[in-house]
Symmetry: C2
Subunit: 337 residues, 2 copies
DNA sequence: GTGAAAGCGCTAACAC
DNA sequence: GTGTTAGCGCTTTCAC
């Protein structure tokens, strides 16, 4: 099953390889007579010609591959993003290489190097930390790079994310409207833009409602259920009364609810809680989680489109910051104070 | 930020490119004097040399890329598989390209062609249908290919999956042990090996317990919650009494539970139900789902190892069929008849 | 509109 | 142990 090369197609069509190349390339097709195009295409079809992208890439220094860097594909936040990106990329004839950094900076460094070695045309990065040397490197290299979900302090790169500020504000407003005044925020890690921005939005929204934020923000070490458990333990230990929690994401909310339940606190009778992202199955929990719905698939798709634009347009770097609209989905975990 | 080429490294180290190549290649490093290796490596480091995998691949006809073909990354069954595969592959210096077929055969055809054009060294396929021309093509092409999760009727390719037979048998035994006799199976689609094999295992297990399978198997059109809903509707309409359900996977179980709840049937009081796969969050439902735990990450990892073996060993095709052990996790959805 | 020739960056076969 | 040479499969000037 040896692979058919362009030369063979050309020979079969009775033309020079260069002509065959032109006939097969949509870009250059019109430099060739229609009848030749026909003959070449037929020959290619007949022989089952599959172009060698490596060889083409070597020549054109374009690989038609985009890399997507994810911290943990197992976190249901990311699959929809991957999917959105893949669809757009595939639609444009690009291939997606996926790399899961397992939240490990050293691993990520190696993977990025490997991707670059493979000559990828661009990166979509979902792992950005607030201060991120790797992303800074990427930005410095001039390789088209789009940040998704999380931004970076340093690099001025295009970014596609959710309107976090508005999401958190919706939560606080909803809770305040239900009469809650002692509202606590389980903040995401300070080395992520989402953690920082959701926390500052929380503070702003509380202020706007004339509510105090003294000791109302608990920092979590990560975005996992376990980090949520730990935070809730601290909350309980602190002994400060609260009637509502705004968690920086769904997983934190889940972990916190578990611990609180172990302490005999039931939801929404004893406390209300909101999540963020609306992961799959959140509506199936008991009670179903009130949370902020984020258009994750769109996020991936828009990120991919932004990247493609940069790769193909060649007309310099746009640094568009796109914030996708979010929506509060009120379900069972929030009730009157 | 022009990319540094091997020539430049060689020049900096004062050697011929070929020598630099050897020094940098672990395979051929011992054909070069230690001091030269030192010099070349230092030069490469200093210049920030990133080898061009495309060029190497063109020369060696090996790209160090493996493709993973997934029907729907959004289905939580697949992310753990992806993750397991990615880790093993990355550990061996391979890059993973991911393609999500969206369960669409036409799309899949195009994607496979594109992957082949990119010169991938092998495929891990999680989309296999029972009769699958695309997989047959792949098998015929001689390209290293490993099937994961689902097998194929036709192709004799290595396969890594779960011990479905045993999983279903465990469910039936558990249910029978609780006194259930009217047990129904929500079968997966007949064009998947998992659907077929779980159904036949169900029949066998029922027979072994002296239970009738007359009208006890309902075929679902897919593996989605919605397919589960539809099947449950049919079950209710049919009016045939039942006290327990063995669903071919978790999603089907979830959909069925929803419909049954709408009909006023509560679980486990009015009926028991088991799932398959133990997706994330299944233990968080109310009641938590009794299901068969499958080592999904391992499945991905073993599939990747099998593929690597084939790619690197070159000593012909092994067609090992690996069945990973499963385990019944008894939770809240099963109770006495 | 088509052919000829050169070369993308690397490595393998062969010299020495 | 290291240099020389050739070529992987394709595209792209440049002639004609």
């Amino acid at each position: 099953m040896a692979r058919v090369r362009l030369v063979e197609v050309a020979r079969a069509a009775g033309v020079h390889p260069a002509t065959a190349s032109r006939a097969l390339n949509p870009q250059a097709r019109d430099e060739v007579s229609a009848s030749t195009v026909q003959r070449v295409q037929r020959a290619a079809e007949q022989l089952g010609y599959v172009p060698n992208t490596l060889a083409r890439g070597l020549r054109t220094s374009r690989s038609f591959v985009a890399a997507l860097v994810i911290p943990d594909i197992t976190n249901s936040l990311f699959p929809p993003i991957v999917r959105g990106a893949e669809q757009v990329l595939a639609g444009a004839g690009f291939t997606l290489v996926l790399t899961d950094t397992n939240n490990d900076v050293e691993l990520e460094r190696g993977q990025l190097a490997s991707m670059r070695a493979h000559g990828v045309d661009g990166f979509i990065v979902a792992t950005a930390r607030w201060e991120d040397a790797l992303v800074a490197d990427l930005a410095g290299s001039g390789l088209p790079t789009v940040l998704v979900n999380r931004r970076c302090d340093s690099a001025s790169l295009p970014f596609v994310g959710a309107d976090d500020q508005r999401g958190v504000r919706l939560c606080v407003e909803h809770l305040a409207g239900l009469g809650h005044r002692a509202i606590v925020h389980l903040a995401g890690p300070a080395d992520t833009s989402t953690g920082r921005e959701r926390a500052s939005a929380f503070r702003a929204a509380m202020r706007d409602h004339g509510l105090s934020t003294r000791a109302a923000v608990i920092s979590c070490t990560g975005y996992s259920e376990n980090a949520g458990r730990l935070a809730a333990e601290r909350l309980v230990k602190a002994g400060k009364p609260f009637t509502a929690i705004v968690a920086a994401n769904d997983l934190l909310a889940l972990g916190a609810m578990e611990v609180l339940a172990e302490h005999g606190l039931s939801c929404p009778a004893d406390f209300s809680i909101t999540g963020f992202n609306d992961l799959a199955f959140m509506r199936k929990l008991t009670p179903p989680l009130t949370t902020v719905k984020v258009p994750l698939t769109d996020m991936g798709a828009v990120a991919a489109r932004t990247l493609l634009h940069w790769i193909l347009a060649a007309d310099g770097i746009s640094t568009t910051q796109t914030l996708l609209p979010v929506e509060l989905v009120v379900r069972g975990t929030t009730g009157p104070a």
